[in-house]
């Protein structure tokens, strides 16, 4: 039997004996999950619509069409209009943009923080580990919703990027715990030991050897975090603790629409529907990615077992 290089594997699923790279394998596994592919396609479509949509209609999200206030969906205003004649379609697209961008950025920073903190705690051990895990425990005791709500007067009138930083700052803890666990087992492996004995600095070991070896987990986690971040953002914005007017997010749109949810349902139904679709797409895609990237995950194991 020929020796395979590390990046190449015998395709275990087709058993054709064909040699393919890991990337191809992951891609094939991902494509086999119809729901995950659908999630990915929907997510891309949402991005396109969110950024291209506003150019398809002549209304901007702050424009007022006073002669047509509070009208239902029509050819002129696709999603209807608000109490002060604003175009719901333009506002919803603007809100979708904000929510998607905030979700992506937050997930990126959150997983990044978790990776660095968790890997440092696991790699260095000792008091570094103890201090970092204490911080994690402490932040887990205070629900992030409470903290960000309390801090909300501080970023009122400032850029929404500050809001992203806060969201990320209070959502990395559980991931960090898992990364720490992964690091503890990786730390004892030969290649890490070898790097250490060769005198590679700790920072390089963490970024070049530890984190790339858990990239599958980090990718999956970041994807699922996008959904969580969108939910957190919209929840805070719903109460006015997040994105501030005149800017809008899906959360503020739903908040504006709920007082008249019975009489003028178009005010919140479109924003609400898109919110569910966006988060659902991310979650389904993350689930598919997990199966594709991590053959040891329970879902895949279970499937091969029943075969």
């Amino acid at each position: 039997m020929e020796v395979l290089r590390e990046a190449e594997v015998l395709d275990p699923d087709h058993e054709t004996g064909e040699i393919i790279s890991r990337g191809r394998l992951v891609w094939r596994r991902f494509l086999r999950r119809k729901s995950a592919v659908a999630g990915g396609v929907i997510l891309i479509a949402l991005f396109v619509v969110a950024f291209a949509g506003p150019h398809l209609t002549r209304w901007q999200y702050l424009d007022q069409d006073l002669s047509n206030a509070l009208q239902g969906p029509s050819g002129n205003h696709w999603f209807g209009t608000t109490q002060i004649g604003q175009d719901v379609f333009a506002r919803t697209m603007r809100g979708l943009q904000k929510s998607l961008v905030i979700g992506l950025l937050t997930a990126f920073f959150s997983t990044g923080t978790a990776a660095v903190v968790g890997a440092s705690a696991g790699y260095f051990g000792g008091w570094v580990d103890r201090v970092l895990m204490w911080i994690v425990d402490l932040l887990l005791v205070l629900p992030s919703f409470l903290i960000i709500a309390i801090l909300s007067p501080q970023f009122r009138g400032k850029t929404w990027l500050l809001f992203v930083v806060l969201l990320a700052a209070f959502s990395w803890m559980i991931t960090a715990r898992i990364v720490r666990g992964l690091t503890l087992s990786l730390r004892e492996r030969e290649f890490i030991q070898a790097a250490r004995f060769m005198g590679v600095p700790s920072r390089t070991i963490i970024f070049r050897h530890l984190l790339p070896n858990m990239s599958s987990f980090l990718i999956i986690d970041a994807t699922l975090n996008v959904g969580g971040a969108i939910l957190a953002e919209s929840g805070l914005s719903f109460f006015g603790f997040g994105v501030q007017p005149p800017d809008v997010s899906l959360g503020t749109l739903i908040a504006d629409g709920t007082p008249s949810f019975l009489t003028y349902p178009w005010l919140f139904l479109f924003a609400g529907g898109l919110l569910i679709v966006a988060v659902l797409a991310v979650n389904v895609m993350g689930d598919g990615l997990r199966d594709a990237l991590d053959p040891n995950s329970s879902a895949v194991k279970a499937r091969t077992r029943t075969k």
Binding site: D137, L138, L140, V141, L142, P143, S144, F145, L146, I147, A149, I150, L151, S152, P153, Q154, I174, G227, L231, S234, G235, F238, F239, G240, F241, G251, I254, A255, T258, F261, L262, P265, F268, G272, L275, I276, V279, L280, V282, N283, V284, D287, S298, A299, K301, A302, R305, T306
Partner: protein
């Protein structure tokens, strides 16, 4: 065993104290109570504002450490300060805690129990219609924020339920009872339940989805394990083996999730209370932030930290009850 629990308890206690301290500092520096008085018309004199703020321990010109020591000293003596309208915080907190705990208790109990049951069914009947159905709904519910779910429940109840059923089984979505209602205790109880269903659903559904996903995965792992095959080989019926040996093992990771999900549950209850007009702790929190009422915010922080402590302890107890290895330590 006892030592393990005591150590955990001490650990949690320190965490709660630290978390509350941190929460108080954040609230006291972020919220500005002075603005409330300065915005009044006619504007009160500077000295009278200061006097009032000092009395309520809300003066932002006093160093925050000093305000905290005063608050903490009062707290140890059982006094949680006064609200902005100068009523004792504890008096109102007692009522509101009852309201919140009713929602939270029902939410966590039904959520965990139904979620575990659905997860087990999904795993046992893997790839059946039931499994696909529950999985799909779990995904949808996990992607629906509580506030949207609450509004949709209201919407559905009014448009589709109340419109088609007799008045006697109507669902209500404002408050926890009809204030003017009189009658036998049965009538009153039924009224309460009619008010309780929607808000409870609002938080239970998300919890069920959360638990069922994890329980399904963990039960699938257990189902393939050797000890279950052995149990069956020794003559145990599959059902008995699954319930007596499998479920117990599969529940162990759930204990940890119980502690983690409690924070989510608290946040969720805040939304449901606010949206369904229940005067609980969550609603109080949201309203107090707008009013810069630091003492109330601090009280809510204490409340949530203590609840998370209790949830953590319950999780540890469950852990010890389910996993014999913990008891030996």
């Amino acid at each position: 065993m006892l030592k393990f629990l005591l150590r955990r308890f001490a650990n949690y206690l320190v965490l709660v104290a630290l978390a509350t301290t941190m929460g108080y500092f954040l609230a006291a520096t972020s919220l500005n109570a002075r603005a409330n008085y300065e915005g009044r018309n006619p504007r009160p004199s500077q000295t009278s504002i200061d006097a009032k703020l000092n009395e309520l321990n809300l003066n932002n010109h006093t160093p925050v450490v000093k305000r905290f020591t005063r608050w903490a000293g009062d707290f140890v003596r059982g006094d949680m300060g006064k609200t902005f309208d100068e009523r004792p915080v504890w008096g109102e907190m007692k009522q509101r805690m009852g309201v919140s705990l009713r929602l939270l208790l029902l939410g966590s109990l039904f959520g965990a129990a139904l979620g575990v049951a659905m997860g087990v069914i999904g795993a046992v009947k893997q790839y059946s219609f039931t499994d696909h159905f529950t999985t799909a709904w779990a995904f949808v519910l996990l992607s629906t924020p509580v506030f949207l779910l609450a509004v949709l429940l209201k919407f559905g109840a009014v448009k589709y339920w109340n419109a088609h059923v007799p008045d006697s089984v109507h669902l209500y979505y404002v408050g926890e009872k009809n204030p003017g209602l009189t009658g036998t205790s049965f009538v009153l109880l039924r009224d309460r339940i009619a008010h309780l269903i929607l808000p409870t659903l609002g938080i239970v559904l998300g919890q069920v989805a959360f638990y069922s996903r994890y329980q399904r995965n963990s039960f699938l792992d257990v189902m393939g394990s050797d000890f279950l095959r052995t149990a069956q080989a020794k003559g145990l019926r599959r059902r008995t083996a699954l319930i007596k040996h499998g479920l117990r093992t599969a529940l162990i990771p759930m204990a940890t999730f119980f502690a983690y999900s409690f924070g989510l549950l608290l946040t969720g209850a805040t939304f449901t209370e606010k949206i369904f007009g229940w005067h609980g702790m969550g609603e109080w929190f949201i309203d107090s932030i707008a009013k810069n009422d630091i003492n109330v915010v601090a009280a809510v922080i204490v409340f949530s930290a203590v609840l998370i402590l209790i949830a953590g302890l319950i999780a540890d107890l469950l852990y010890a009850a389910l996993d014999p290895r913990v008891r030996i330590r």
